[in-house]
């Protein structure tokens, strides 16, 4: 999937990461959102048995969007780690936040609910993988 020009319009800076470099740390605070311009990013969840890969994202995918769309706190819910060299576009967080905030309450509720459900089912999958070890 390539990055649409619409999305590129939000990119305010670019960052490069080497293989295995940490982009986002689970539990840290931050709500900026990235779009993958080149390369792959692994999303990992902390379990007592170590880090567990739950998803692999590629070009055009977003990283860090969950913290932005939740309305409660902006703690990172998972690790994002470079899988090979990666180039990321940092999205204009002020503009994104404004656009998000200007959505009707029901739309915001619907989407933040979706994000909460992802966290629940990701946690559940992680717990089960751990239990099965």
């Amino acid at each position: 999937m390539s990055v649409s020009s619409e999305v590129l319009g939000y990119v305010v800076s670019e960052e490069s990461y080497a293989d295995k470099a940490v982009i986002v740390k689970e539990g840290s605070v931050g709500d900026w959102v990235y779009v993958i311009l080149k390369g792959r990013v692994k999303i990992k969840k902390q379990t007592s048995g170590g880090l567990l890969t739950i998803d692999t994202l590629s070009e055009g995918n977003f990283v860090g969007e969950m913290a932005m769309l939740k309305h409660s706190n902006s703690k990172r819910t998972a690790w994002a780690v470079a899988d090979g060299p990666v180039e990321l576009g940092v999205l204009d967080s002020v503009r994104l936040a404004q656009e998000w905030e200007s959505q009707p309450p029901k739309i915001k509720k619907l989407i933040s609910n979706l994000i909460q459900n992802i966290e629940k089912s990701t946690q559940k999958a992680a717990d089960m993988i751990e239990a099965s070890k």
């Binding site: 649409s4 619409e6 999305v7 939000y10 959102v33 739950i54 998803d55 995918n61 977003f62 969007e65 969950m66 769309l69 999205l91 994104l96 656009e99 998000w100 959505q103 009707p104 029901k106 739309i107 509720k109 619907l110 989407i111 609910n113 979706l114 994000i115 909460q116 459900n117 992802i118 629940k120 089912s121 990701t122 559940k124 999958a125 089960m128 993988i129 239990a131 099965s132």
Partner: protein, 259 residues
Amino acid sequence: MTKTKGKNPPVVTLNYSKGDLIIKEGDYGISIYEIISGKVGIYVESGGTETSVAVLGPGMIVGEMAFIEGNTKPRSASARALEDCCLEVWHPAMLLDAYKKMPDILRLITGQALKLIVRMNKRVVELSLKQGPSKDGQTQELSDQWTEERKCFRKKVSLDCVFRPVNSPKKVKLIGRIRDISKGGLQMTVKTSGLLNYTLASGDELFISTNFTLDQKVNMTAKVARLQKENTGDMISLGMVFTHLDPDDRRRLGFFLMP
């Protein structure tokens, strides 16, 4: 059971009892529900087993995935009342305009989130099937209780219909009027003088055709469960239970019944 607040399009609240099915996986439905009170369990079926993928409580939304997918796909999971529940039903028309006007980037992010949750739910189901029924009752065999018909929205209508007993010649066209209809059946009234030489009794099966909208013809097969003479004498009222509906007709009915 229903209460209408505000107007155009109305916000409806529905009450469900413990064990009631709210959404059935595989159905076509477009309503979105917000939980006002009670707990709702989300289940995905695979290989005859239902796996719990989430338990949702007050303030949370049920049924949003079909909306985000543009209502083109059937429900990806079932939702069941784990205790007595009150839900507010949102008609998607309330949200569609706003969703369309949303900046592309927010829609793209939402789309990615949706794909992720579908994949995560699938993973939970695979894992729980591999591990077998767990102690906390995460999975369970489908039983009668879990496959029972969903508690339906019964809609009051006044629809002309034509019908005939299933064993009568195709050209027979008797006239009736449907008074209310749900996913499980309907109630209709018939003028006895219009029955020609036919008599109707409990247990009789009828072919019924009607139009939900001008150009949308729907065929149904239903059995007479209850037969009652109206006070006026010339009218009988038939309580009917569906015995057969084609998938397309079932879908049309689903849309028609949407709160």
